[in-house]
Amino acid sequence: MNTNVSLTLPAPTAKVEAIERSPGFWSGVIAKLMRDPVALGACAVLFALILIAVFAHQLVPSDPYQTSMIKRLKPIGFDGFPLGTDELGRDMLSRLMLGTRLSLFMGITPVLIAFVIGSGIGILAGYAGGLINTLIMRTIDILYAFPSVLLAIALSGALGAGIGNALLSLTIVFIPQIARVAESVTTQVRGRDYVEAARASGARPFTIVRVHVLGNVLGPIFVFATSLIAVSMILASGLSFLGLGVRPPEPEWGLMLNTLRTAIYTQPWVAALPGVMIFITSISFNLLSDSLRSAMDVKS
């Protein structure tokens, strides 16, 4: 055996081929959304609504609270009132614009809060497993045993009318739904090899959840939460429609529908306008959520 092997290997060079950085997941999603005309349209509508909501006070053509006994229930296109006037002679266009503020706020906030709390509960239950999972999920099942409209009305009916109570009721309605989705995706991720590997290497549960679980479960939960915004808009306005949410004289689309309900025989098209706004908003959220779902390739 020849032991005299020369080991004249080429000296290692520090030169590394520059690898093109692969585009991230989110930039892929955004690129897909940008190619989707439906998603772009929905985004444009929602962006316009948000702009109106933010700058409502600067944009309104006349005072949305100014009542007039003479100019009550004027038709669309009446002099000085492009969309007519309501049952107290207030300008419909201004009220619809200012109403964007409360309606969007009441529709989006419960889903946002429920997204944070529900994901927390669901991820905890899914990652902990065992007895903690059973305890949490069985409690959630009880709230899940109510149809969502009934639960929202039961809670805000018992708590009494008001914006805060309506928001609280809607949040309680959405927490179990989001927690269920969060629990089911977390349970799936928990069984993956990389989580097992992290656990074997001695990572603490908190670190595993932060590094390995969150990134993989937040996407599907987020898509589900966006699909709830349309439901939340309709429910929140529905509560105000029943007189359980926003209180007069604040403009909110559901409440406006309620107060104009008596006018459907005199000014039907004016009375139907606030509902058109709710409809447009909820369609836009639904379409955006559908596009997001297919762009992120999440199974329903």
Binding site: A145, S148, L150, F241, L242, I283
Partner: protein
Amino acid sequence: MIFYLLRRIVYTIPIMIGVAFFCFLLVHISPGDPLVSILPPDASIELQKQLMRLYGFDRPWYEQFATWFWRALNGDLGTSIASGRPVATEVMRAVGNTLMLSCMATLIGFLFGGLFGFVAGYFRDSWVDRVASAFSVLGVSVPHYWLGMVLVIIFSSWLMWLPATGAGPGGSGEWAWDWAHIQFMVLPAITMSVIPMGIIARTVRALVADILAQEFVVGLRAKGLTDLGIFLHVVKNAAPTALAVMGLQLGYLLGGSILIETVFSWPGTGFLLNSAIFQRDLPLLQGTILVLATFFVVLNLLVDVLQTTLDPRIQRS
């Protein structure tokens, strides 16, 4: 099968107790003293204490809950504060009306939703599919209370074909299956059917597209089966899931009818809930919600059991 059934029923019991506990809590989370509405404003402390004892508010909550739950199991849901009649009687009379309306709406929704969904799934990515899919997005996005108003504007106020509100020419007391009564149901039932229609259309579309992509369909075609024969196979495969979705939708409508019943003044549970809320009639609110939630839980159980019975692919473990 018997074991599966028993286990499902046993599993429902803790949920029912939880639901009852939630309804019990409703009175306690509501602001203000529950006795304020029946006490005279100048009530003495003695009278207040006497009433507290009478209603059992001086005892610990678990005792109160046990008593209330036991009474509810025996069909005693307390007395309505506003009308002075037993809550159970009031709710049962209203539930019939709501059930009738919801069943009608689910039926309409299932027929049209199933049809749209089937056509969309069968001719996937064609213009028919796009139109049907657009309809189903509209169906789930429309605020149904507003749709009800629009239908009233068109068919009652403008065309004057159908009555706008109520449930019959002679008040809300009697119901009969003749046109004089049915015409009152047309608008609320159509309004109500829009949501299940959208959801069933979506479900059926996905189901049919899934089934058609499976290999056994190619096999059936290869052996020379006609389109009608393949159609029957697809229907048989899609039916259990579609029926399950329909059952769940009926449950959602039962609980969610309050907005539509308010728009059409339909004398059902939603109307009852509405008046309970505004008269602060908490026993009535509690009783109505308990009955509706019970319906929902039992319906879920039935749907689960039926689906397992109908569909041999679902394991009963």
